[in-house]
Subunit: 343 residues, 3 copies
């Protein structure tokens, strides 16, 4: 971590200062917990009151407002904050290990320049590793798999045979890429394993969370598009294709042969059945169950998932079902009384 | 992958040909993506129109139909297709490594013939490994655990002490078998760990997906029946007994001391509470929450799970709750008007 | 496993005997499966009838009752049973390995006394391991991480850099602690990774299940309070703070920056959104979806989660929605008839 004046940080993110440009910034924190010398940010209007009372030295906001801190005004405060956190702290520094003699590397594997292969990592025969990759202990790269440049695979991440990772792909610890898809032909009550001859392709800048599992395709590849980020303990079924720049929050799951467009956001514990088509920029609320195609731009919620604009109200009414039923019974009683008096 | 004539493939699966028996087949693909030289299949009526337009050289179907490809008619097209995929591609070929000197094998462990134990695998004291087993790097076999013949354990799969795997068991990467059950006695607000003295028994032909975790029993064994297949990131609670030939789709979870019969199918993200009894051939829809016993042959859906025949309609009506409430309010208003006019 | 008389066991747990104090107890089992020589327990009234027929030699109960076995009467039978199971069987005995020369230990790491570091475990630079810790094969301890005394890390558990584990912390196999939080700043459609500079702190007596993943904080630490137990394939988001003595059943998930009080219980597959505050002693039913603050002592159920006292009835009524709608249509029809006859 280094320290800088607010003026230097403003210049770095292209923002302007309301306050003292010479304020020295030594760290970053949240509005609530920041203290003297730290910079914070406001990205949610709900927290505007905290800007007035924060102990931070400076706050990144998108317009002038009452504040107990100097202001750094930026078009997109959260993006500016990200840039400043990178500037002040940098991304994780990996210890240089070179290629450990305790790693198990097949003679036919090809390893690019400036890689760090830790002890107990395995690179199988005919695998290719690009330049500047880091493979932590316990990482397994299967036969004929290919990694691009600048990939980081954390401890015990596994890449099965033939799978392909682009550049700057990150696998968090204990992630699995390319295990067999859940595919069986059931005949006379016995499930026969179908060879899963497709691969997994992770395009550039994909990140996969800890404990997550991306199945290889049965016949065609499972593909995760460029820049898509997948959280922890997510599973993706065989042959599913996810477009670029999606976000899949932890514990989401997508069954096989589904397709998703670009810039979709799936909340936590979302389930998507197989063989359906989800358009571009679709937003799916946490725990939703998606059982049919979804057009571009739609926001859906609930299990089964329906249009968010009506879903929130609809699902909230479940609580009032006993009351609704009582009303119906009451109405029926009154109606019977009236019908009797009429007859 | 090898190539064969359609006649040879038909003979292999016991089907008959409508078209050219000399068509050469070099691969397999889906109806939509197959191209010249490939064989495909139809197992879902929804895709019948694709049979007319597929670019495949041949299609496996269960009766004669209009087609752009030669037809291979088989009683069960998906099963026939599975057989042909195995015939053309085979299952994964594992590189022969023998027993690596970089593996860590206890002197008291017993290893059968023709096993392949990769570097960084551990076999603990008094463990037994059958013949023809493959243990990839990072696999851990605990003390006194037993594996049958022809097991495949992918990288970093873990088998705790005393657990038993039958023949042809497959553990995908990062799967865990036999970790401690979630069992604590809470006394004066403190949770005291109960020793989990049961084991996990995986019978013949069981497969466990990546990231999945099968708890050992507290007092009695957790048992997964013969031929049952479990997907990725599934958890099975301590002492649960699952019958033979079940399918548990990824992210399903079963709490402790439940029992399931044979040939049950649990969809993705299904949750089953503990201490209940689920019969044979029960089908449970994705995301269902099962909170009570389920008789043989039943299909259930929803959270809480109810009979599928009514559940689909019931859950679909949640969307219309605001409308139903409006109707009730409207009725009440009209009723008041009438009651007034009567009095 | 050792054998003892019922009198010795009663003395150990401070209970009293109704029956033969000289009965020899050689093991423990459930009411249903116990046989001669074993001790069992009753903690759920539902199973009182089994006490009359159990084959067990002795049963731990909280009051005198009709029984086929000798009775050991204790205030809290389940807690007494736990004590007896520990007494008879003990906790897992770990094989003494000392510090394996096949482990990879940085020269700058500090390791306490009487530790067992298995082959293929990694301890990175400047990490600190307390006394009497056991690190199984494939365990990874990142740079500057700290473990207290008496920790047990099962195979392939991973602790990232700078994270802190208290005393007696247990990580089951393939658990991950301290991976990067799911944090990105999205700018012009591209997700930019935010360095996650917070840590994970697991306080004393925390246990984490297999396949679970605890994200490190973005700016502030993720904290799991003393004595909290977390099951398998659970994920905890960045910066979330969980109080002491909570139970998180397998497959639960909590998003980032949430806070939970002490003694909360989350059922299986519960989802909690980020940035909310859950009080003390809150109970959340399996599969619930929690989308707002929850006060102390509350029990909630359902997705969306509502008060349990009304939730069970409300959610159960979903099944009757088609019937309710039919009633409303019938009422409307009768009302129209009456309105016509009036006009």
């Amino acid at each position: 971590m280094q320290s800088n004046t607010l003026a230097e940080l403003a210049q770095h993110v292209g923002g302007r200062i309301v306050g003292n440009p010479n304020t020295v910034i030594t760290g970053a924190a949240t509005l609530e917990n920041a203290h003297s010398g730290q910079i914070t940010f406001l990205s949610n209007k709900k927290y505007i009151p905290l800007v007035k009372t924060t102990q931070a030295a400076a706050a990144i906001v998108n317009q002038e407002m009452e504040s107990s801190a100097d202001l750094l005004i930026a078009e997109d405060p959260y993006y500016a904050f990200m840039q400043i956190v990178v500037f002040l702290y940098g991304h994780r520094k990996h210890e240089p290990t070179g290629i450990s003699p305790q790693a198990n590397i097949a003679p036919s594997a090809h390893i690019g320049q400036n890689c760090h292969i830790h002890p107990f990592a395995t690179i199988s025969s005919d695998a290719t590793i690009g330049n500047d990759c880091i493979l932590y202990p316990g990482v397994f790269i299967g036969p004929r798999a290919k990694l691009g440049n600048d990939c980081i695979l954390y401890p015990n991440a596994v890449v099965y045979d033939e799978c392909i990772l682009g550049n700057r792909v990150i696998l968090q610890a204990n992630a699995t890429v390319g295990e067999d898809g859940f595919g069986y032909a059931t005949y006379k009550g016995v499930h026969h394993k179908i060879p899963q001859i497709g691969r997994v392709i992770l395009e550039d800048d994909v990140e996969i969370g800890s404990g997550s599992a991306i199945e290889r395709g049965t016949l065609e590849d499972t593909i995760i598009g460029e820049g898509t980020k997948i959280g922890d303990t997510v599973t993706i079924g065989h042959g599913t294709r996810i477009g670029p720049h999606c976000l899949l929050v932890p514990q989401a799951g997508i069954a096989g042969s589904a397709t998703l467009g670009h810039h979709c956001v799936l909340g936590g514990q979302v389930g998507v059945i197989g063989h359906i088509k989800i358009g571009n920029m679709v937003r799916i609320g946490a725990q939703a169950g998606v059982i049919g195609d979804v057009p571009d731009g739609k926001e859906i919620v609930g299990s089964p998932a329906i249009d968010a604009s009506k879903a929130r109200r609809s699902y909230a009414l479940i609580e009032y079902l006993p009351e609704l039923r009582r009303s119906i019974k009451d109405i029926e009683r009154r109606l019977r009384t009236m019908e009797k008096s009429e007859s």
